[in-house]
């Protein structure tokens, strides 16, 4: 539009300004420098204290750098100064949404080194609580990804449904999250009377609410337009970056440590399915997690029906001293593959604990993934990768 064309009625411009409009048009064609935009570390859209520095060409990202470490608390060093039960208390807080699931691989590693095995009832209860943590984490994701994309209602649904699950976890363990319920050799306590019936009811509500999410979010054309073909992770590249969990399954890789890793907990005893999606975009990641939430709810129902009776704690000495050795245990946590490499020298505390967290690898692909994305898509992509800062920063 040139300065001499008639304007729409109502848009009156002082003719002396026409020269400036013409200049504005010329400026568009001049090659101006790239802009560097800093997102975070405090930002309502990044999921915690993550700092993203992007170099923009207009609205497109040319290059980006992810700066983390704002929540680095030094878990690996702290573990060298604590006894095994004290570490169990601490590692809850690495991935603070699915805290029960963080304890499981570490306790497993210590049990393997000691040569004890938790009794079957304890394994089943651990599985139930892990799957409940998975549901709680994914419900938050299903809600807040809608929020990041611009839909506010799913966030309230997600928080409301999370309360049912947290009620169940709290009734069993005493803590809404950070339950500290695992002990080396089993669990702290048995399930309370009436817990199974209430949890069954909660799972029925969760299954219904997954259908709501499907209708409200997944079928929504705006959501689909915002997320389809955004942030595609190729499977081979994702694996070499260490991307794991639902992110990799959304790229078509049929790999789930509950089925394909070393057998742990009670997953072999029930009937369940691994969900994958071939596209690898943000929509696929949302969809896979929605299906996995449903699957976890069904798994919890099966586990409660199949729960054996018996003791919940193996015979372990009062002061835990783990014999010398090295153990690597990795599990399918809600965010991906989480593992602990525990080096023990026979003391009451470990010599070295290397913590492998899922979100560090999931986010390390972000600089590659964000090239060429538009600014609003940056938020969508980060939301769909679903990281927790404590999990990245340890």
């Amino acid at each position: 539009m040139t300065a001499t064309e008639p304007r729409a009625p109502g848009f009156e411009v002082d003719p002396s300004l026409y020269r400036h409009l013409a200049d504005a048009q010329v400026n568009v064609e001049i090659d101006t420098g790239d802009m560097v935009l800093n997102l975070g570390p405090q930002h309502p859209a990044t999921h915690g204290t993550l700092r993203l520095v992007v170099r923009l060409d207009g609205e497109r990202v040319v290059a980006s750098d992810v700066i983390i470490g704002y929540m680095h608390r030094g878990y690996e060093k702290l573990s060298e100064f604590r006894t095994y039960p004290q570490i169990t208390t601490l590692i809850n807080r690495i991935d603070w949404l699915s805290s029960f699931a963080n304890e499981v691989p570490f306790v497993h590693a210590a049990e393997q080194l000691m040569g004890v095995e938790a009794p079957p009832r304890a394994q089943y209860i651990r599985t139930v609580l892990t799957e409940l943590s998975r549901i709680a984490t994914f419900l938050l994701f299903l809600g807040e990804m809608g929020l990041q994309v611009g839909a506010i209602t799913p966030a309230f649904y997600g928080f409301r449904d999370r309360e049912y699950v947290l009620n169940a976890i709290e009734a069993a363990t005493g803590g809404r999250f950070h339950p500290n319920f695992n002990r080396i050799g089993g669990l702290k306590d048995d399930l309370p009377w009436g817990w199974a019936a209430e949890t069954r009811e909660a799972m029925r509500k969760i299954l219904k609410s997954c259908d709501d999410f499907e209708d409200l979010v997944v079928a929504n054309p705006i959501f689909q337009q915002r997320t389809r073909s955004i942030g595609i992770i190729p499977a081979e590249l994702g694996a070499s970056y260490g991307v794991s969990g639902s992110n990799l399954r959304a790229s078509g890789v049929d790999w789930d440590l509950r089925r394909d890793g070393k057998p742990y907990l009670a997953y072999d005893a029930i009937d369940w399915k691994v969900w994958t999606h071939p596209d690898g975009d943000s929509f696929a990641r949302y969809w896979v997690r929605l299906q996995e939430t449903r699957e976890s709810a069904r798994m919890v129902l099966q586990l409660i029906d199949a729960m054996p009776s018996g003791p919940i704690m193996a015979k372990v000495p009062r002061i835990i001293k783990v014999p010398e050795g090295e153990a690597w245990v990795n599990t399918e946590n809600p965010l991906g593959e989480m593992g602990y490499y525990v080096v023990s020298k026979g003391a009451t505390g470990p010599f070295r604990v290397k913590i492998r967290t899922a979100s560090l690898s999931n986010v390390s692909i972000a600089p590659w993934l964000l090239r060429g994305a538009y600014v609003p898509d940056v938020i969508t992509i980060l939301a769909s990768l679903y990281f927790i800062l404590g999990d990245i920063d340890k």
Partner: protein
């Protein structure tokens, strides 16, 4: 794949499960058996210590010839025992570790090692832990970023925590710590000053610790509890 029940560190290749023996064969063929310094099975996992100059070749062999497309992590270990309380470090509340410098399941030539874990997303239940020794004076090893791009951040973390140099890494800079941080926190000679200034608050509890070295059991034997 059967679990190796004995946690003893120095078992040789004779006690390995068949799948691990086969895996070791494939690695030796791919790298040449002179590249492997020691190999052992620890609790069902194959741990292979390779020669320092073949570290990147090992990664390449894993990715292309052995089909290990997934990188789990790259980390470091410092085998030196931490200074203990009676040597005057002041921290009386941490668990007491043995004072001799021992080296874990696959052994080590010295104080520093880098170890990594790779796995396959196509073949279930197979993975490999690789270890390499680093020189104590100037610890350095080749970078894996040209083979596994995900090693970028892991090596940055290992550098800032231990001070290991990774040749060929695009930019070794701080990942977790602020840029002005001095020292390498995960080294055993890096003290946690807060613990030395003030002992663990739990030590001032009223109740004494239960009797040491007793094997009494702690199982609350609730047979058939709950209502499942």
């Amino acid at each position: 794949m059967s679990d190796d029940g004995a946690p003893d560190a120095a078992e040789g290749a004779t006690s390995m499960s068949d799948s691990n023996v086969a895996l070791l064969e494939r690695i030796s063929t791919a790298l040449g058996s002179d590249a492997i310094v020691e190999s052992v099975e620890s609790l069902g996992d194959l741990v292979v210590r390779v020669r320092a100059d073949r570290w990147r070749d090992a990664a390449q062999a894993c990715r292309t010839e052995l089909g290990f497309d997934y990188l789990s992590f790259v980390g470091g270990i410092d085998w030196q025992p931490a200074p203990s309380a009676d040597e005057g470090s002041g921290d009386t509340s941490a668990p007491v570790q043995p004072k001799e410098q021992t080296y874990g399941v696959a052994g080590s030539a010295g104080r520093f090692q880098v170890f990594a874990r790779v796995a396959s997303t196509h073949v279930p239940r197979v993975g490999l832990t690789l270890k390499v020794d680093l020189d104590e004076e100037s610890p350095a090893v080749a970078s894996w970023t040209s083979v596994y791009p995900g090693a970028d951040w892991h090596e940055r973390e290992t550098w800032e925590m231990y001070g290991f140099d990774f040749h060929g890494h695009p930019s070794l800079r701080h990942l977790y710590l602020p840029s002005g941080f001095e020292g390498h926190p995960l080294r055993k000679d890096f003290p946690l000053l807060a613990r030395e200034v003030k002992p663990w608050p739990g030590l001032v509890d009223v109740e004494g610790m239960p009797g040491d070295a007793s094997d009494e059991t702690e199982a609350p034997d609730s047979a058939g509890g709950g209502d499942a």
